[in-house]
């Protein structure tokens, strides 16, 4: 039968004749079980979260599990989202692991639960009174049809929503990350602002010690500025507007400069730095952004290393047209539970920091056509983070094979 004919038959109601109206809930519910039992595939979409909860209460999922154990039929179930659903669903999932449950957007609540057996038999159950606790009191009329075109249409709708649930889950996760971010960012921003407010007040009331308070103010303002930049960078990355300002420059000199600068900061924590280096390495890239990445890796290493040493190494593999930079420390190492998500946004285990530094670094390196990774990690014994970027048009001066900068912690 061609498609035109098929549509015409549906419109003319030829197939519609096979729709049966069932008035008694007990009868329609028992038909539902017959359908599940007699088919290879069941698709079930609940009208409301409560409709699902009523079935749980009536012991439907224990019964469903015993059917599935015998027949091996496939069952997919969609339930509109509700906050109270989560704990119940978790329990039901563990009790009936062979059933595939998904939660759909709460806006998809309807007045009808739909059961589609083998994509050709469709039972539509009306939810007459969703407030009722008892299954039989809540269910209204039902219609049953063996129309293949209707069954196929319902199944297509079901499949579409089924696929959308993935996106829905991602959206939920995104919302959670977003609100976590606002909380973390608010906390991080207010901390230096608290110091600024207090020292500004002290500078005006305790004039004799003004210079000391000005020093503290400057420190907190600098921290606030750095934090603001990080948050803006993350927003730029998310909005796809992070742009590189490429130029030809000496990567070796840049790494040395960053090590020098971070070393001065590290001195406040009694970290001393020793540089062993020679030669130069010309690459094409964004000098400021790559400096930011090295500074980020180095400051993390300093932050998590109380004693021992921090080593920065730069290895040019000219034949492979790439340069690898490694930052190793003998510090606390990285909590293994966060390693798989280390370069994602807001991953924090240290109770300080926004969890944006490595996320920003990863994006900068990838914009350069490179990659960044955790090379080694020994909890309690230190970590090595590394990144590589293409050298591209390496100049004649770039003869350096390998050089190392070593930092020793006093």
């Amino acid at each position: 039968m061609d498609r035109g004919n098929k549509v015409a038959r549906v419109v003319d109601g030829v197939e519609g004749l096979s729709v049966r109206v069932i008035e008694k809930p007990a009868e329609s519910l028992s038909l539902a079980w017959e359908l599940v039992q007699g088919s290879k595939e069941t698709l079930l979409m609940f009208s409301t979260p409560r409709a699902f909860l009523r079935q749980v209460k009536a012991g439907a999922f224990a019964r469903l599990k015993s059917i599935l154990d015998l027949t091996g039929t496939s069952v997919k179930i969609l339930i509109p989202h509700d906050e109270q659903l989560d704990p119940v669903l978790e329990k039901v999932r563990s009790e009936a692991p062979s059933v595939d449950f998904r939660v759909m957007n709460e806006s998809l609540r309807t007045k009808m639960s739909i059961l589609i057996a083998d994509r050709k038999r469709t039972l539509v159950l009306e939810t007459r009174d969703d407030e009722r606790e008892e299954l039989l009191e809540a269910v209204g009329m039902a219609t049953y049809t063996e129309s293949r075109s209707l069954g196929a249409s319902y199944a297509a709708i079901f499949e579409n929503i089924w696929k959308q649930t993935d996106m829905y889950d991602k959206l939920k996760l995104h919302e959670k990350l977003q609100s976590d971010f606002v909380n973390v960012a608010a906390h991080e921003l207010r901390t230096p602002v608290q110091a600024i407010v207090a020292y500004a007040e002290l500078a005006t009331t305790d004039v004799d010690n003004r210079d000391e308070y000005y020093g503290k103010l400057l420190k907190s303002v600098t921290r606030l500025q750095k934090l603001t930049e990080e948050i803006l960078d993350a927003a730029r990355i998310d909005g796809g507007t992070l742009r590189l300002n490429k130029e030809r420059f000496d990567l070796k000199a840049l790494v040395e400069a960053v090590v020098d600068e971070q070393g001065i900061k590290g001195n406040a924590k009694a970290v001393s730095l020793v540089m062993l280096s020679s030669g130069s390495l010309l690459i094409e890239g964004d000098r400021g952004r790559l400096g930011q990445v090295v500074a980020n890796l180095l400051s993390n290493a300093i932050k998590f290393t109380e004693k021992g040493s921090i080593t920065v190494s730069l290895e040019a593999r000219k034949r492979e047209n790439r340069v690898v930079i490694r930052v190793s420390d003998t510090g606390t190492g990285i909590d293994p539970s966060i390693v798989p998500r280390l370069f994602s946004k807001f991953v924090v285990k240290s109770q300080s920091g926004t969890g944006l530094g490595l996320y920003i670094s990863k994006n900068i390196i990838e914009e350069h056509g490179g990659r960044i990774w955790v090379e080694s990690n020994v909890p309690g014994g230190g970590a090595t983070l590394a990144f590589e970027i293409p050298i591209k048009q390496a100049g004649e001066e770039a003869e350096l094979e390998e050089s190392r900068a070593r930092l020793g912690v006093a």
Binding site: A186, R190, A198, E201
Partner: protein
């Protein structure tokens, strides 16, 4: 008016500012940046009020508080935090915890002093 004040916050810049500021207003102030050290040194009847940060490494302000009241239940507790914490939520989470005040960073020293003076009322 409370006179003896304990301040626990992991930010040295903040504890130092509060110490200098509160001492300038006649309070006796002891500060710690490590909550575990603060707890180890905490003795009964040593302070009238404790100002605690919430998000700290090793031990949160809530955990610190729970341990502190085992040592001395009479010290008044003020949480000074950069988080958006709401009293109602907190009381739901910790029904047994009696918190005197939640203060939100940033807060000027003069405002903090005013709030500390109110504690007696």
């Amino acid at each position: 008016m409370p006179r003896r004040v304990l301040v626990v916050d992991d930010e040295p810049d903040i504890t130092y500012a509060l110490k200098v500021g509160l001492e300038g207003k006649g309070f006796l102030v002891e500060t710690y940046n490590d909550p575990t050290v603060a707890l180890a040194k905490f003795k009964p009847n040593a302070f009238d009020v404790a100002i605690l940060d919430i998000r700290m490494p090793k031990m949160s302000g809530f955990e610190l508080y729970r341990e502190m009241i085992k040592v001395d239940g009479r010290t008044k507790i003020v949480f000074l935090t950069a988080f958006d914490v709401y009293r109602e939520e907190f009381e739901k989470m910790f029904p047994k915890v009696k918190v005197t005040a939640f203060l939100k960073k940033p807060m000027t020293i003069s405002k903090l002093v005013a709030r500390l003076k109110e504690l007696d009322n």
